[in-house]
């Protein structure tokens, strides 16, 4: 389990950095969130 937690911590940090700094990643995240919330609202 310890390795799993370490992997999750690394994944969380990498995700945050990718969304913050890699062009296009934030737009992908936004488009996905929009589709999901839009389907809930209908």
């Amino acid at each position: 389990m310890k390795m799993f937690y370490q992997g999750i911590a690394i994944a969380v940090v990498v995700t945050a950095l990718a969304v913050a700094f890699v062009p296009g990643v934030d737009e992908y995240v936004e488009g996905t969130a929009q589709r999901i919330v839009g389907s809930w609202a209908r």
């Binding site: 999750i8 994944a11 995700t15 969304v19 737009e27 995240v29 488009g31 929009q34 919330v37 609202a41």
Partner: protein
Amino acid sequence: MDMIKRLVTIVACLLLIPATAVLTAAVKQRYADGPNRFFSGGPLVAGDMHTGAEPDWSFVNEIVTIELQLVDPPRSRRIWTVEHGGKLYVWSGYMGTTVGQWWKGWPPQAERDGRAILRIDGKRYERQLVRITSGDILDGITKAITDHYPSRTTRAGVEAGDVWLFEAAPRT
């Protein structure tokens, strides 16, 4: 029981990754000049501010979305718009649903303080949002909406509060 607890922990940890992605994207957009598609943005800064006579708003019928910022709170979002009878209108759907009320925070804020800035084709306009809840004019406005967008907005929907409709009137 330990197995269930461990399973819940694993699922929660895995959900932390997409949650981090969404939160980071939302925070990043909050500091940007204007919104993206879904997350609200910061104040609209770039673009000349329109001064002078009231524009001929018919040009917005060729535009898909505009940027709308409230003065208080100073956050912006991308929305649909139509012109009808020489006036400009914006609206928010899904207001009759729980998710819609959680998602669309700006309509109640606009009802409290309607001062707004629109940015259309890179130009900014100071406006006053005035909610319209009834009246025969809704027939024409909702027809303009459904002619322009794949929308099921109806007069009954506006009158029932499922759609909050505002005229973007001149700031007095």
